[in-house]
């Protein structure tokens, strides 16, 4: 069997490092000394953004977990899952987080003594897996744990993907042969190679997968030499890695188009462009810093007379989006960077106007023209109306 493709050249031997940590913990215990585990603090207050680097990187804050009666449960869980992951690495088995959750549940249920470790829901086991990654400073993928394939449905008449399979063979997928069906990028972008049959002018990432599908069915990819992709909300690791791959392997401008609100700007666009605080140690390979924000922009609302919604101050959910904008302006290093001043200005505008605008509002600009959205998007790209 061929060796698995790695995300990067790893300079540590994970099993060796894990065994060293376990041995250290054991030695501490033998000496009645409290073992301590340290992991990178994955939060905005430990995120650094440098526009030259292009993505969020970790600061030097760490989360220390020292063994005591309150943390003994967490440490027991960490070591328990670490053992499973190490075995996976040894036999080169791969699992999703959800599979690991059920594997743990099965092992725990079959052994009464392990019962206290039981997880109430997947969030609990996910948090432990993330902690292990942050502790060893390795990607989840390097622990052979992959996310589910979600989001990123892609359409193109020019793009050809070559996938290296586990058995050493290769599969070639010409996206133009898929009809109206999308290509679903895998959660292991490192096993993919991209080629353009013909020059590709741009890649367009739409926030909503449904809207990307609609544009495609109306002939967007027939009329344009492009890659059209639906992010499917907050981009998954797969989508982020896929965008990164497009950025690295094809020299094409990438644009993102979504709603005009704080959530889209911070949670979706910023994650795609510069990564997230939760994945600080993985952002290098899971963000595409060249992605540009095509809209919706405040100026579009005026120019195309778009329908907007007022943010109801009486609605706590809507008010949260305003608070989110405020928090982003105060504490998100991405928006605090002067290179991203124009993006921060959009947040300020949202707070001032207290309105939001959906990406789908472009469909209503001219009720007689079914491809109005396409026309506007192309016109915006041509005009350079993006941030």
């Amino acid at each position: 069997m061929a060796k698995m493709h790695t995300v990067r050249d790893l300079n540590i031997d994970i099993p060796k490092e894990a065994r060293r940590l376990a041995d250290e913990m054991l030695s501490d215990l033998e000496k009645s000394k409290r073992p301590v585990l340290e992991a990178v603090k994955t939060s905005l207050d430990n995120s650094i953004y440098n526009s030259k680097v292009g993505y969020l990187t970790p600061g030097d804050k760490v989360v220390r977990t020292e063994l005591n009666v309150s943390s003994v449960q967490k440490l027991a869980r960490v070591v328990f899952i670490l053992e499973i992951l190490l075995n996976n690495l040894l036999i080169e088995a791969v699992n999703t987080k959800r599979e690991l959750y059920y594997m743990c549940k099965g092992l725990i249920k079959s052994n009464k003594r392990l019962k206290p470790l039981d997880f109430e829901d997947q969030d609990e086991s996910d948090a432990i897996i993330d902690f292990i990654g942050d502790m060893l400073k390795v990607y989840r993928e390097e622990l052979n744990c992959f996310a589910n394939d979600r989001g990123g449905q892609t359409y193109s008449q020019q793009l050809v993907v070559t996938e290296s399979l586990m058995d050493g063979t290769k599969a070639t997928i010409d996206l133009s042969t898929l009809g109206t069906a999308p290509y679903q990028p895998k959660n292991k972008p490192q096993s993919l190679k991209l080629k353009a049959k013909k020059k590709i002018d741009f890649a367009l990432v739409i926030e909503s997968e449904g809207t990307a599908g609609t544009l495609q069915s109306m002939g967007f990819t027939k009329r344009n030499n492009c890659i059209l992709m639906g992010a499917g909300g907050v981009p998954s690791n797969g989508v982020r890695g896929w965008c990164k791959l497009i950025e690295e392997e094809l020299d094409v401008p990438i644009y993102f188009f979504g709603d005009l609100d704080a959530y889209t700007l911070q949670n979706i666009f910023r994650t795609l462009k510069a990564g997230s605080a939760a994945s600080l140690i993985r952002n290098q390979h899971f963000s595409a810093p060249s992605v540009r924000f095509l809209g919706l922009l405040p100026e579009d609302v005026k120019k195309y007379d778009l329908f907007t919604y007022p943010v109801k101050e009486s609605d706590p959910a809507e008010m949260r989006s305003l608070k989110k904008a405020k928090d982003a302006l105060e504490g998100d290093p991405f928006f605090l960077d002067k290179k991203n001043k124009n993006l921060a200005d959009i947040l300020r505008w949202l707070m001032k106007e207290k309105i939001r605008c959906e990406q789908q509002s472009l469909f209503s600009v001219n009720p007689k023209d079914p491809i109005m959205m396409e026309k506007i998007l192309l016109e915006k790209i041509k005009r350079g109306a993006y941030v």
Binding site: A22, L26, L29, K33, V69, S70, Q73, A76, L117
Partner: protein, 591 residues
């Protein structure tokens, strides 16, 4: 122009009974009971008699109005009795009261309530109140039916007769009226009776509701509360206009004499302070008849700006922490409680005394995620409706109960199996309506109640903290036992180590975690000793032996409290728990 007619007070109230608590069949029964019990308790207290009340409420048929039953409400007391000549006035005439404007903290004030009950019975069942009365000096009792002559606002006696009654003195009144019965929940009859029991430790109450077993609750104190005397008014309770009018009653005396004799708390020291604040001797010596309006204003302002002693404690009455502690145990078996009686204070120019009792019962209000059961009292009368607009509710919601270990959604009542009883007593409680259901929420009053609640919360938190620490210790010990061996076992597997390392690591782990549990034990000891200190302090305050105190606050200290197995209803608690579920359902249905 249409003709202007004049109607009698009785006519007004007969048409507007909803304003005085008769707005629904449910409230009609409760209000009738309430008015009769209030009158009995007031009468007993005024005569210095320890009250013993017998209450019976039964369904006797179908009501004349739609969806109502015909309900008989009977209240019998051992009070001084009513002079037969006054029967018609008391039960049949509006605004005929012995308590009106006296500046006392009696339950009844205006003389509306019981006449309204008679009117309701008369309107729905064509018969007013059936009353039996006997004074100590009477050989036989007098019984009669009292109706309200609505046109003239006078009471009319019918079927008057003398009968034998083996009671030294007392009044028994009976109303047969259209109504409906709700036993539990905010507006329930049992809730009312329990509340009345709580704030009247000197009351022995026997009651039978519908077909339920008869319940008897014994008094826990033999002291009849001293009925507050109508003392001189406190100058800070006055407004300028009242001040000037009040002065006119004193004729040709000096300003100083007027201040000294017309008000309470104007002592030699107070006069000195008034002078220091700029009141000239000349003005103080000036005869009232010569004082000009602007001079009155000047005097008034100086008096308001000068700090005076709090109003006379004699003008308000409180149950007292000790009596409240004993009384609360009559509502069921208690886990722990805390009571606070605040010194009287001035709120909105009126003396007010606030008392708070917070308790957790073993078998009450057991729905863990439901808000606490709130019992509100004004002048020792339970308030059961319109909770949300009441000063007491506002004050509770304004306290951050999380500090004291309770769960509390934002700006709401805290959550948990607790009973919060808050009582305010004042000669001039400002109600939002004539039916006395809600206390008007002024800033001063809410703040005063809030302070009492905070004090009670602090005491309560000692109990809760002890419990939290106990749970903490238990959890920590369980964690050590559960996770320790798994942790070591997994480490051994990863490092492929031998069993001697495993043994050594397990020993080391136990040592480490043992240190942690020792800390938890120390925390618990600290919480326990702080609680003990609180008990000792409270016992000392009550004049008890502090060494015998640890039980106070956790369990009722009084020998007369019901045994642990039975509750207020004399029923085994286990049985009540079962019944409680049904009755809660009934309460929610009636909502």
């Amino acid at each position: 122009m249409s003709k202007i007619t004049k109607s009698s007070t009785a006519e007004y109230f007969a048409k507007n009974l909803q304003q005085v608590g008769f707005s629904s069949p449910l409230k009609a029964v409760l209000t009738t009971l309430k008015e009769a019990v209030d009158n009995s308790l007031d009468a007993c207290e005024q005569a210095g008699i320890l009250p013993e009340l017998i209450v019976e409420i039964s369904k006797v048929g179908t009501g004349s109005s739609k969806n109502t039953d015909l309900i008989k409400v009977t209240v019998e007391d051992n009070g001084p009795g009513i002079d037969p000549d006054d029967l018609a006035k008391v039960f049949g005439e509006y605004l005929a009261s012995s308590k009106f404007g006296k500046g006392q903290c009696s339950r009844g004030q205006q003389g509306i309530g019981i006449s309204a009950a008679t009117t309701w019975a008369q309107l729905t069942n064509a018969k007013g109140a059936f009353v039996t009365t006997k004074k100590e000096n009477m050989r036989k009792a007098v019984s009669a039916q009292v109706d309200v002559d609505i046109k003239s606002n006078t009471g009319v006696l019918r079927k008057k007769e003398t009968i034998d009654w083996d009671k030294k003195s007392g009044v028994r009144c009976e109303f047969v009226l259209d109504g409906r019965i709700q036993l539990n929940g905010d507006g329930g009859l049992i809730t009312y009776l329990e509340g009345t029991v709580l704030v009247n430790p000197h009351l022995t109450l026997e009651y039978k509701l519908l077909d339920n077993e008869k319940v008897r609750v014994e008094r826990v104190t033999n002291e009849v509360p001293d009925m507050p005397e109508a003392t001189l008014p406190h100058p800070h309770t006055f407004k300028l206009g009242e001040f000037i009018t009040h002065a006119h009653l004193f004729g040709k005396v000096s300003m100083e004499k007027f201040l000294r004799t017309g008000f309470s708390r104007i002592s030699d020291d107070a006069i000195k302070n008034l002078k220091a604040k700029g009141l000239s001797k000349g003005l103080l010596d000036k005869s009232l008849t010569a004082v000009k309006e602007d001079e009155f204003k000047k005097v008034f302002q100086v008096v308001q700006d000068t700090e005076l002693m709090a109003p006379s404690t004699r003008s308000v009455i409180n149950v007292g922490e000790e009596a409240l502690s004993k009384s609360i145990a009559r509502l069921g078996e208690i886990d722990f409680f805390s009571v606070v009686t605040r010194k009287p204070a001035i709120c909105d120019f009126k003396p007010v005394a606030v008392e708070v009792a917070l308790a957790r019962f073993k078998n009450r209000n057991l729905e863990a995620d439901a808000p606490v059961q709130l019992l509100r009292f004004a002048n020792r009368v339970p308030l059961q409706f319109d909770k949300s607009g009441c000063a007491i509710t506002w004050a509770i919601e304004s306290v951050n109960w999380k500090t004291y270990g309770l769960v509390q959604p934002k700006e709401s009542l805290p959550i948990g199996p607790y009973v919060f009883a808050v009582s305010i007593v004042s000669p001039f409680i400002k109600f939002k309506n004539a039916s006395k259901e809600t206390v008007d929420a002024s800033e001063d009053l809410v703040e005063e109640i809030r302070r009492a609640l905070i004090q009670a919360g602090q005491k309560l938190s000692r109990h809760i903290r002890k419990e939290t620490k106990e749970a903490d210790l238990e959890r920590k010990l369980a964690h050590i036992e559960q996770f320790g061996p798994i942790l070591v076992e997994s480490l051994i597997k990863i490092t492929k180590s031998n069993s001697s390392r495993q043994k050594k690591a397990e020993e080391g782990l136990m040592k480490l975690l043992g240190r942690d549990s020792k800390e938890a034990i120390a925390d618990l000891d600290l919480a326990t000793s702080r609680l003990k200190d609180l008990h000792a302090k409270e016992a000392k305050k009550r004049g008890e032996d502090p060494d015998a105190a640890p039980a106070a606050g956790d369990a009722p200290p009084h020998p007369e409290t019901p045994p642990a197995e039975t509750d207020l209803f004399g029923e085994p608690l286990a049985a009540k728990k079962k019944a409680g579920k049904g009755s809660k359902k009934q309460a929610s249905k009636s909502k």
